[in-house]
């Protein structure tokens, strides 16, 4: 992945978007906007997945997180009065100038580091969805990565049971 390729431009754009929106999630006072920024962050991550040739992960990212964030959205709306959804904590980042400068340096540094890493790991010339194989993903998931796969499902099961327990207690 050459530094001046179209792909790099895409990557730079998506990575900036992801970081900026993630920062917005952390520092925003409007909770609903924060949730929306989280959606943007997830979507740009999906875009990065596309760039490193894993459309399946990208689509699952959109599919699963879109739903999950929507739940968060509902919690925000239902638990906070929608008119007073702006949390009023005095932020440490009240003083914006130095914060923005630091964030800029951080973002720029992140690009150069990750770009170098991507350069060594992936040497992709163009988008090649045609060569992607879902069957490959599936069989890998159920052979090489069976243990993490099953562990994840157990984790999710535990989460479900926990949720049911918490709901039943009331």
């Amino acid at each position: 992945m050459r530094l001046l390729s179209l792909q790099y431009a895409f990557y730079a754009f998506l990575a900036t978007l992801a970081i900026l929106s993630a920062a917005y999630v952390a520092f925003s006072r409007k909770t609903v906007y924060a949730v929306l920024a989280l959606v943007v962050a997830m979507l740009s991550l999906a875009g990065i997945f596309l760039l490193i040739q894993s459309p399946f992960a990208a689509l699952i990212q959109v599919f699963v997180y879109a739903g999950a964030i929507l739940v968060l959205f509902l919690y925000v709306i239902m638990l906070l009065n929608p008119r007073q959804a702006d949390v009023t904590i005095r932020s440490v980042f009240e003083n914006r100038g130095p914060f923005l400068a630091a964030a800029g340096v951080f973002v720029a540094g992140f690009f150069f580091l990750t770009a170098k890493w991507l350069l060594t790991v992936y040497t992709v010339e163009r988008f090649q969805f045609e060569e992607f194989s879902l069957i490959e993903v599936a069989s890998r998931l159920l052979t090489d990565y069976l243990l993490p796969f099953e562990l994840t499902s157990i984790l999710l099961l535990m989460a479900i049971i926990g949720a049911v327990l918490i709901a039943k207690r009331n």
Binding site: V32, Y33, L36, V39, P55, F56, L59, I60, V62, F63, A66, G67, L70, V71, F73, L74, I77, M78, P82, R83, F129, E130, F132, S133, L134
Partner: protein, 376 residues
Amino acid sequence: MNEFLLDTLIIVIKIGVVFGLVIGSVPVLVLAERKVLGWMQVRPGPNRVGPWGLLQTLVDGAKVFFKENIIPDGVEPLTYRLAPLLVILPVLIAASVIPFGPPVKIAGREIPLAIADFDLSLLFFFAVATLSVYGIVLAGWSSNNKWSLMGGLRSSAQMFSYEITLSLSIVGILLTSGTFRLTAIVGQQSGGFWHWNVFLQPLGFVLFLLAAIAEVNRTPFDLPEAESELTGGFHTEYSGMRFVMFYMSEYSSVFVMSSLIATLFFGGYNPPFPYTFGTSWFDGAIGLFWLLAKIGALVFFFIWLRGTLPRLRYDELMMLGWKILFPLAFLNLIFTAILVALNWPGWLLGLVGAGALVLTDLVVSQILWRRRRAAG
């Protein structure tokens, strides 16, 4: 011509065709709905503007175009403006994976007649179509109106509940066809209507149809805009072109969802009799014709449904989604998986599905009957 430019040109033309079809379908659908609903209520429907009232939606569009775009006090200005766009964009993007004809050879190039034809096109459809609920929730939330907010919340709860069924009910098809690629799924259904997936997956089809109706917020499940309880639901505070965008997204999502149902279960662009597609543009047109005919039939069904069934109550909606459709979808997935693993023939699969459908119908109606009797 330059290779790259030619590719781009072809894609732009395809995008123009598909978006034109989807957007252009909206006035036709609106008129068809008003006409058919009118006929079902023993009245003629719109018949004043143009011959048989054919120009009615054009005139309505012109009227609404000149209306004032009111932004009420106290709304969240950014999200209020953003929401209509967020509702309509996912529908259009999702439409890009629907194959609307067989591959066509023009000037020595083979062109697949779908904007995007890749291995995960079905997954792409669902991933993108999910996003349109954000528009509805945002519209409801930013309108500063409790009825709008309730409409938005209802819509999102409904989307969650039925999306599970929607996704699970097509896994049966994925198992029998072995691919996520919509063009491949359509290709497997060629050679006459008895090859269509609806006969392979009758239970899956019914589940998908019900969940799809809930996803596009059509009548028995149109609680987000239940006008008798929520005035207009999430779009109460909208007017002018922004309101039209909600309206357009509703009808274009009906169109796109119908095209997906046609593609998955009714053989897509394949005619109902054995026909081998060539690669001329004429064969492409034949494919488009049959797809549109199937979409038309499905749209008629959607309208018919609206003319027949009343709206569900909210608890009934949730009960249907979680206690009936979801377990059934799971059941369908399990027995399809077993039968596919055992390599049983397709007609047996269809028979089992139909049997399961009749059986659940019996059971559910028994339960409902008992419940009604117990309630007195």
